[in-house]
Amino acid sequence: MATVRSDRAPAATDVIERFDPLERAVHWTTAACFVILMATGAVLYIGQLEVIVGNREIVRTIHVYTGLFLAVPLIAGVLLRRGRLLRRDLGRLSRFGPGERSWFRPGEARRAIRLGKFNPGQKVNAMFLGSAIFVMLGTGSIMHWFAPFPDDIRTGATFVHDWWAFGIWISVTGHIFLATNDSEALRGMTRGVVTRAWARSKRPRWYAAVVGDPEDQESS
């Protein structure tokens, strides 16, 4: 399973694969959907933007159909045979390794953790955004196809949709900020590779697994 690209040009041997093409395709289509949804959602929600953009019917239609499509790349990626690495990474994102909870507390313990492929912050972000897709899909559907629902349920759905949107804005802008602050991590998602040096220092437990060094795989 090791994906060392030793057959590449000499400079390329310094890098290892982090995300395969399918994972990157899922990431970037989902990211594009999020950007469209956040932009159109802001117009629908913020009066000052609505009065500039207007055309509510068009903006609403874009928002609704992008929202309906949002989960499609992820679900398709998981179901596809080629989605093996995606499925495995979702599994990695969904559980904390030994001692990783102390990552959220600053101090010595945090630095002592040997991280796997993802840090605990990325895991929490993924759990929130992953569930938020479906919370927004459900509440958004009630808001759009409101006919069968009592007014109180419509009000409740709007309430949840609004507050979750705040969470999504914080989560996504934080994610973009942190990614743009670490060009190497960003390259993992744009080109699919990271340098060995980055992997060794930032994600040692993952690096050890990739290079297949049993001595170095111990986690504490």
Partner: protein
């Protein structure tokens, strides 16, 4: 210590029972957040009402205006056209015509000179958002109709907006209700462009889309002509709680 064959990178594919790998919190958090969202849908109205009561007095004093972005008892501004329709009060006119004895064009001052009515009512959007206890001031639509004199042929009203696109309708009986206003004040201040000023319709017992903003003309017709959103599937008789798929007791 862990046997070497247990590759930590394969933690996703080993069973959930392996305590040393860490619990699969992801699934729990995922389902927990979905449950929280569902709970929010069911109890969101009560929580929103509570927040409006508690936070309302605080946000009212917020000088920065940032709290206006929080989803607490706030109006959403809807405009179906590309820009914000705007008209100065001294340029504003309301033309009432159709099946009437004396077609009349009212200026803003004409309307302001008529007997005012003030209502304290909730504003409910068909999609769910709601603003409590809004103060509306204006002229009863019934009074306007009495001025122009509806002929026996007149059975319904068609409203147009100076945004150039929006239209609405009411039956004559609906239009003559005491809680239907040609409104020019909101919460004690002049009606702003965002809220449909200088003059808009306010139909208290119906969903917000019935309350035509930027009101420009009222035509008395012999039958109900469906308006903008009604062509897109909304009910013509937009009673709150008794239309658009529901038949609840009115709020």
């Amino acid at each position: 210590m862990r046997p070497p064959h247990e590759d930590p990178d394969r933690e996703a594919v080993v069973g959930d029972g392996d305590a040393g790998r860490g619990a699969p919190v992801g699934r729990r958090v995922f389902l927990g957040l979905l449950a929280l969202g569902a709970t929010g849908v069911v109890f969101g109205r009560e929580v929103a009402d509570w927040m409006e009561r508690v936070l309302g007095p605080i946000t009212a004093r917020d000088g920065t205006g940032l709290s206006a972005f929080l989803p607490v008892g706030r109006f959403r501004i809807y405009s179906v056209t590309g820009d914000l329709p705007s008209r100065a009060r001294d340029k504003y006119t309301l033309k009432v015509h159709g099946k009437v004895t004396t077609p009349t064009t009212f200026s803003y001052a004409d309307l302001a000179a008529m007997k005012p009515t003030t209502l304290h009512k909730d504003f409910q959007c068909v999609t769910g958002w709601r603003v409590h206890d809004v103060e509306w001031k204006g002229v009863k639509l019934a009074d306007v109709l009495d001025r122009v004199g509806v002929t026996t042929e007149g059975k319904a009203l068609r409203f147009t907006s100076f945004d150039g696109t929006y239209t609405e309708s009411l039956s004559l009986a609906q239009a003559r209700r005491d809680d239907v206003l040609v409104a020019y004040e909101l919460d004690g201040g002049q009606l702003s462009s965002e809220h449909g000023g200088p003059v808009r319709l306010y139909v208290a017992p119906m969903y917000g889309y019935k309350s035509c903003k930027w009101l420009e003309t009222i035509e008395v017709t012999d039958h109900v002509i469906p308006g903008y959103w009604e062509h897109l599937g909304y009910d013509v008789d937009g009673w709150v709680g008794r239309s658009n798929g529901r038949d609840d007791t009115a709020t």
